[in-house]
């Protein structure tokens, strides 16, 4: 089992630890995951996300290689820009979802911990001779600082004006004395940043941000993976292995917007074929009453016929609702459709609702 460099800090803080993607990670702190979620929505949450991987791609052929590798349009990106994309296989299903940063002279690709090895192998197998690909995960640390007051905190402790960075851009800044790549990105639906910096500075930056926040009267808390999941879920963001996987097409999951059909990329032909045939299932949001909907539970129509399955479900602390994401037959996917979810053998009422349940800050 891998540990991040903050492992001892988490344990000392009383975190409940559990394995995630091969790492022993903090699931929640004594504050509790519901309150951790709410702190992030009202002030600042700090996330140890060192399990995430980073791949740097450079060389004369890098632009063309990255463009053909991923689904999103990337060649229009300017230095510093950050963009969401998918890594597809030839079947047009999702190997991973990525955040891609265009840096001066290289591409910086952030990958999910659980897919890192497969991503790197996939990329290496396809990379031409004039492209250099380096897995920077081990020497790069990653912390997310998220919440409506995150930028105020960052501005106060950085040598650059982070508030001047537009959403989905990045820049170099020194934060509490640590040289960072600062992306105005995140996975919570709140404003905020993701910091990339030398791994040996992990504890200094983490404890420094907590102390500086609270010293300035900005409530700042460490947040575990359970709240990270509920935050991303409410904000409509996918988690690979749930809403996206190698068994799921972007068309089924509502990610056509992340596919640039004007360019060539791996998986495009399969996407075009599925688009012509039409999808057999689609991702919908469900609001459920009478229990907590969870992954694997079946969805029925009003006649009791099984029409789909839940891939993620939980209590949503901000909207105070039980909700799920499910793949269902397209015919029952319209907002307002009455369905049922089987919880412990009992069918409880569910209704298809508009996603996301919580509108992310950058869309308001």
């Amino acid at each position: 089992m891998n540990q991040t460099r903050l492992h001892e800090w988490h344990v000392a803080a009383g975190a409940k630890m559990a394995p995630f993607a091969g790492y022993d990670m903090p699931i929640s702190y004594p504050l509790g995951s519901v309150e951790e979620h709410l702190v992030t929505r009202r002030s600042v949450g700090l996330f140890d996300i060192d399990h995430m991987g980073q791949v740097e791609v450079s060389g004369p052929g890098a632009d063309g290689f990255v463009s053909g590798l991923v689904s999103a349009k990337v060649l229009d990106m300017k230095d510093g820009d950050a963009r969401y994309s998918l890594l597809l296989n030839e079947r047009g299903t999702v190997i991973d979802d990525l955040f891609i940063y265009r840096l001066p002279g290289s591409w910086w690709i952030v990958v999910n911990a659980s897919n890192r090895e497969e991503d790197v192998a996939w990329m290496n197998a396809r990379k031409p001779a004039d492209v250099t690909l380096v897995d920077r995960s081990d020497d790069t640390y990653m912390i997310a600082v998220q919440g409506p007051r995150a930028i105020e905190l960052l501005d106060a402790v950085s040598d650059a004006k982070i508030s001047a960075y537009p959403r989905f851009t990045s820049g170099r800044a020194t934060v509490l004395g640590v040289p960072c790549l600062v992306g105005r990105t995140g996975y919570t639906g709140e404003d905020g940043v993701e910091l990339f910096f030398p791994a040996d500075k992990a504890e200094a930056l983490w404890t420094g941000l907590l102390a500086e926040g609270n010293k300035r009267g900005i409530e700042t808390q460490a947040i575990g993976l359970a709240a990270r999941d509920s935050l991303r879920f409410e904000a409509g963001m996918p988690l690979h292995g749930h809403e996206l996987s190698q068994d799921i097409s972007p068309l089924e999951a509502g990610f056509k917007w992340a596919c640039d059909m004007e360019k060539d990329f791996t998986g495009k032909a399969a996407i075009e074929k599925l688009a012509a045939e039409g999808v057999q299932r689609k991702l919908v949001g469900l609001e459920v009453s009478g229990g907590v909907p969870r992954e694997g539970y079946e969805v029925q129509d009003q006649s009791g016929r099984t029409v789909g399955k839940i891939v993620a479900g939980m209590f949503c602390p901000t909207v105070k609702k039980f909700a799920a994401n499910a793949f269902v037959e397209p015919g029952v996917g319209k907002v307002g459709t009455t369905l049922a979810v089987t919880i412990r053998g009992k069918a409880v009422p569910a209704v298809v609702v508009k996603r996301p349940l919580y509108i992310p800050a950058y869309r308001r």
Binding site: S28, G32, V34, G291, V292, R294, F315
Partner: protein
Amino acid sequence: MSIDKNSRYRASHEWARKDGARFVAGISDHAQEALGDIVFIELPAIGKTFKQGEAFGVIESVKAASDVYLPMSGTIVAVNDALAGDPAIVNKEPYTGGWLVAFEATEPSEWDSLLTPEAYEAESGKE
């Protein structure tokens, strides 16, 4: 971890306490701590009868759904309706405001088979 000295316990972390002619039951502080934030509680209908150790309800935390077992055989005479609106009461007050059900014991002698506070403390401390 706190222990209610007036209750008796099962190793599966439920408590029962005499309340006049009836008993009340809930889950221990150790149990609520292990479950984490509780977000939904399913309780039985009044009048339902359970054997000792039989599952009478379900507590859903952020991470999982867990059965809860009646410490003694009995018939449910009341359920804690406040938990429907605020299940987190069980996290905050597992022995008082967070009680789950009241029951009439059908086998009152089962009380003697339950763990004393001291025995439960020793038992749950091992985990």
